[in-house]
């Protein structure tokens, strides 16, 4: 099959959806500028012009509300933020309005709305430009939250959101943008709430989210040399979450590791742990382990960034500990293994 980069898959999804449905429009800070949100909006901007793809003032919260209002009246907005962090300015409109309007209206006013935002890890982006905030949104009933990790999933999930009647938050990781993978040319959709098994295995269930799927694959290869057979599950959508897929895997392996490059407390890793504890406790043969960020804001200095982000080595150590009987390395043991990194430079 033809290969596309992640960013190209997103771009293609936008163009195909907008060709099909004239009610779709796209806005955001920089969507129509020459760099086009790291290349994902340039094609749409060229194809559909300023009427349907337009730059906005830096007014994120109000623009979110404008998106909601237009969605009530027959349009399908796409609002894009170059950083996840800017979503925080829009919490009022997303949480108090987009997520609730249809419910408060007794189902009479659905809000079909796609909001994309990017995690800007690396190169000293520091505390306000690199946050992974998926859990904040996954917490909210009335929203859909997706985190595609492959070009195939990015295109399929974005196209699905264009058919959905709900507000979808799509959180992308900057380090996935240049990764290539097979992507069908024709439009297709991936249902929300359906995860995927990235690698079959029998010893450990490893639920990996977004960019951590790449670290998970590296870790699984390493572990297979030690006869530890890891099954990797990518939930792809966090709300709704594919509980069945995760639970049936745990029932098979009896061990669970969750890798989510976000904070541990009240994070997706907490939620998935709770799911396992609630619904398949008798099957668990070992404590659940979680691979997450350090419990601090993102530091700027490159040496501290290395400490902050988990890598495949953290996963490998956790996996080993499940079989050696030794406790997992605690958070303060730092593993400075070089993370896969083809991202450098100012942005």
């Amino acid at each position: 099959m033809r290969e596309l980069k992640y960013k190209e898959a997103i771009s293609e999804a936008h163009v195909q959806a907008m060709l099909k449905n004239p009610n779709i429009y796209m806005m955001g800070v920089g969507v129509a500028d020459p760099t086009g949100i790291f290349g994902t909006t340039i094609a749409a901007s060229k194809c559909f012009g300023k009427e349907r793809v337009f730059d906005t003032p830096l007014s994120e919260n109000t623009l979110t509300g404008i998106g909601i209002g237009s969605a009530m009246c027959g349009l399908r907005p796409i609002l894009i933020h170059a950083r996840n962090d800017f979503l925080l300015l829009t919490m009022d409109q997303i949480v108090n309005h987009a997520a609730k309007w249809n419910y408060m209206a007794g189902g009479k006013l659905p809000i079909p709305f796609l909001i994309r935002a990017i995690i800007g890890r690396g190169w000293g982006q520091a505390a306000q430009h690199s946050q992974s905030l998926q859990a904040l949104f996954a917490h909210i009933p009335g929203l859909q939250v997706i985190m595609p990790s492959s070009p195939y999933d990015a295109k399929g999930l974005i196209l699905s959101s264009m058919e959905s009647d709900k507000t979808t938050i799509c959180i992308e990781h900057r380090w996935l943008y240049e990764k290539s993978g097979p992507v069908p040319e024709e439009p297709y959709s991936i249902p929300f709430g359906k995860g995927t098994i990235l690698r079959k295995g029998k010893d450990i269930t490893l639920v990996a989210i977004s960019h951590m799927t790449l670290e998970a694959k590296t870790a699984a290869e390493e572990c297979s040399k030690e006869n530890i057979d890891i099954e990797i599950i990518d939930p792809r959508s966090l709300r709704p979450l594919d509980e069945d897929l995760i639970l049936s895997s745990i029932k098979k392996t009896g061990r669970l590791i969750i890798a989510d490059a976000a904070w541990k407390m009240c994070g997706m890793s907490s939620e998935i742990s709770a799911l396992a504890a609630e619904k398949c406790f008798p099957y668990l043969k070992a404590p659940i382990l979680r691979i997450t960020l350090q419990d601090t804001p993102t530091p700027c200095s490159s040496v501290l960034e290395t400490v902050y982000y988990p890598t495949s080595m953290n996963i490998v150590k956790a996996a080993r500990s499940l079989f050696s009987g030794k406790p997992k390395d605690d958070a303060k043991e730092f593993i400075a293994a070089k993370s896969e990194r083809d991202f450098s430079g100012p942005f």
């Binding site: 800070v29 500028d33 830096l58 601090t296 040496v303 942005f347």
Partner: protein
Amino acid sequence: MNKSNSQLSPELAQKLYLSLLRCRKFEEKIVELYPQQEIRCPTHLSLGQEGVAAGVCSALEKEDLIFSTHRCHSHTIAKGADLKFLMAELYGKKTGCSKGKGGSMHFLQPEIGAMGASAIVGGTIPLAIGAALALKMKSKNQVSVAFFGDGAIEQGTFHEGLNFASLKKLPVLFICENNGLATCTPISSRQPFSDIYKRAESYMIPGNQVDGTNVHEVYQAAATAVERAKKGEGPTLIEAQCYRWREHVGPNFDYQLGFRSKEDVEKAIEKCPIKCLEEKIKNENILSKEILLEISDLVTKEIEESVNFAKESPFPQAEEIFMDL
């Protein structure tokens, strides 16, 4: 001394010149060093815009407070920060102004009144107002300054902030550096009109437009606003028109992106704030050439020292990630 006097005294000329050169040479050094890939953070340079920082901060006392943005180098330098600590921060070192935690977008030095910078556009406007509220409640004869770009006008914090500051007659200066751009998007695509100073009228405060490349003009406007604030008459909005010479973030030029031409950038560079001041000093015979050279040499030396300091300083220890939370 009446600070809003239109005469440029030798004393003030020297102060402004020194301030401009410290800002300029610090960032020219970044341009030179960035390709070495040891400065590993996004840097938003204010080359060409230094007249605003130097003019405003020269009208302040050490005790006055400033709050800044992602483009914070010149503000912090002009307020009097120690360049060693700033350079070390760019290098991610333990000796940096925020111990390697913040990097280029979050310069600060509270001892000299530089209270920090936010990478969220519009993020520090309320903080500056809050500081002004504290100054007023504690009856301090000081002012607080919010620096922000033309992009911040589009945020609610600007409008809500001006409303509150005017209502409470707070001692705060709103300094908008209008470079006509937010990344590559011109102000004409973002706002219905570009005379930002006119926004002041709807909040019943004075609004001035100044030429940001004329450091003395900026200084005078700021000095007037400081006087007014200290008399308890409330805030002022100053729009300083300026031009961003380099790309939005990073050390290079950006005309290859096609949203502005090389000719436009070159024309803007002709209108350099340092050159403008030098001409004025020469034409009005305010300072000798020797003094200017002496200042320039002094600054060059200060920059070299800051680079050596930064390069020789240690990186933070891994455990330091957990500190200062």
